[in-house]
Symmetry: C2
Subunit: 351 residues, 2 copies
Amino acid sequence: MKLNIALLAGDGIGPEVIDQAVKVSDAVAAKFGHEITWKPALTGAAAIDAVGEPYPDETHEICAASDAVLFGAIGHPKYDNDPSAPVRPEQGLLKMRKKLGLFANVRPTFTFPSLLDKSPLKRERIEGTDLVFLRELTGGIYFGEKGRRDGGDTAYDNCVYTREEVQRLAKKGFELAMTRSKKLCCVDKANVLETSRLWRETVQAMEKDYPEVTVTYEFVDAVAMRLVQWPNSYDVLITENLFGDILTDEASVISGSMGLMPSASMGADIALFEPIHGSYPQATGLNIANPMATILSAAMMFENFGLQEEGAAIRAAVNKALEEGYVTEDLANGGKSYGTKEVGDWLAAQI
Amino acid sequence: MKLNIALLAGDGIGPEVIDQAVKVSDAVAAKFGHEITWKPALTGAAAIDAVGEPYPDETHEICAASDAVLFGAIGHPKYDNDPSAPVRPEQGLLKMRKKLGLFANVRPTFTFPSLLDKSPLKRERIEGTDLVFLRELTGGIYFGEKGRRDGGDTAYDNCVYTREEVQRLAKKGFELAMTRSKKLCCVDKANVLETSRLWRETVQAMEKDYPEVTVTYEFVDAVAMRLVQWPNSYDVLITENLFGDILTDEASVISGSMGLMPSASMGADIALFEPIHGSYPQATGLNIANPMATILSAAMMFENFGLQEEGAAIRAAVNKALEEGYVTEDLANGGKSYGTKEVGDWLAAQI
Ligand SMILES: CC(C)[C@H](C(=O)O)[C@@H](O)C(=O)O
Ligand SMILES: CC(C)[C@H](C(=O)O)[C@@H](O)C(=O)O
């Protein structure tokens, strides 16, 4: 396969971890006979510094013309303390999601047996946890009309959803559930919100097309509780943008493997792959950042092209590294640890 | 002191646990020389069944004319599965909050040393946890305009906040912080929402009036994570209605003492006190429900009247019951347990 991949390294540790994912992906391509052309482009604070815009048109064109996007991390402390600053890295993120039509954010949370003790939760609560959130990513209150009235004393944000937006996200949820344990949980606040009632009725109407899938409907506050109590009782969860923002982050800490979690954001034409962790500015350039979440994001990318074996090769290498202790200091429990680059080299050599 | 207290027992186990709180409160009143007149009124499914309305006008008049409201729990399975049903118990709850002007929901989460092992979190993560959420309760997306367009295919919910609404909630937060460790965390999503930016700028402007309070600003997704990682790093948190709904429920499970957590909802003129647990319909009439959360809600009620000693007497009795194992089966760890009524009797006798 010939693959054109846009490469958005971003800020902080982004470039370092992206380098390792490129290295491992190239090893996979060499082994399985694919050809990857990487197309680097600017984003985040790095793009603001260079061209005054966190998601420049040129970057968009490179992404739109690619088969997929591999993304590092964005965010820089100099933009952190003032959410009302005129130009901020997150705006680039939202613009990118909208312009590339990345409507479904796929956020798996799973456990690695060797890392269970890193979780804040007791072992028996998380053993076997393997769930996936599908978060709607281009609608809802993030993108509704917002502004001020009354000379600035009243603020408003509109949350809007159409049946179609719910359907295309829910369809992905049903399809994913079919490949897993056939359990789907629709998370909403239908006892209060009209948009949630639209979500619920739309998903209910789709149930007949997937008779094998068991669908449950739970309120967002109840899910926020049960995720901490019994995370392993969930499998596939679908939800709207803001609930997804909160719950996927909550879910990411319970497994104890947050530093290893990959994610994908899927559109009709293109998909983007990125680690869930941030740009970790304090670690920039120190060769200590854990590249595994980004490398596992590359695995998701291969799998999304239908290249299951390629993805599995990466996952196997990561598992082996975890078992043999070939890890960065965050996972070393005070024992021997390796640099970002060394872990990348080791994983590439395994492939 | 002469106190008129509206008594809203509600549904499920509500009446049973309310009975115990009345018994304990009467014991406190007798001991400290107060006179409580209880004014029972209908609410929830019980009120729908009786008069077709979950918060009847008559109930509102009784509440509005009282010095405080003591509330059990509402909700009945026959209304559970259809959030679009024309009359539902929750609507009564929202109407009551709005009509009584209960704008500040006070939700403490604290640990009892003897119950630490009940938490899904590891002991070292929760030891010493003692935090309070102040959730805005009469504004935001709960009460904004909502509806459908495009023949039902588009749904919307508006989130609206005024500076005044933020100020009165934040003022309570600053005041509470002054009585505790002088740490206040404002939880918002100011990187995306205009209402959050109004929250943040309003709280920032109030900082100068409370120079001793250290204020931090955190995004709701980050708080959803850190609540699970290090709940004991928080003290007083203030937030808007929907974020508060999600985060207070999440926080309630981490302490391991969810069945014991009381809450208060404060307005300008009146306050309401209730356990955070639900109506637990399966346990109705079985004399097994734990009455302690409702009894501790009565303690909050006394304290809110400035009757600190009275509140402390109740808390001391509850602590003693926990230490001596005079508890309902949910806390008995398979050991000897007592009925709802027996625990109420024992606590009243201690006073
Ligand atoms: C940075 C922020 C705008 C973003 C979001 O809320 O979507 C982030 O929290 C995420 O989840 O990717
Ligand atoms: C029942 C529901 C409307 C209510 C809310 O969302 O406020 C409940 O979850 C609560 O937190 O009291």
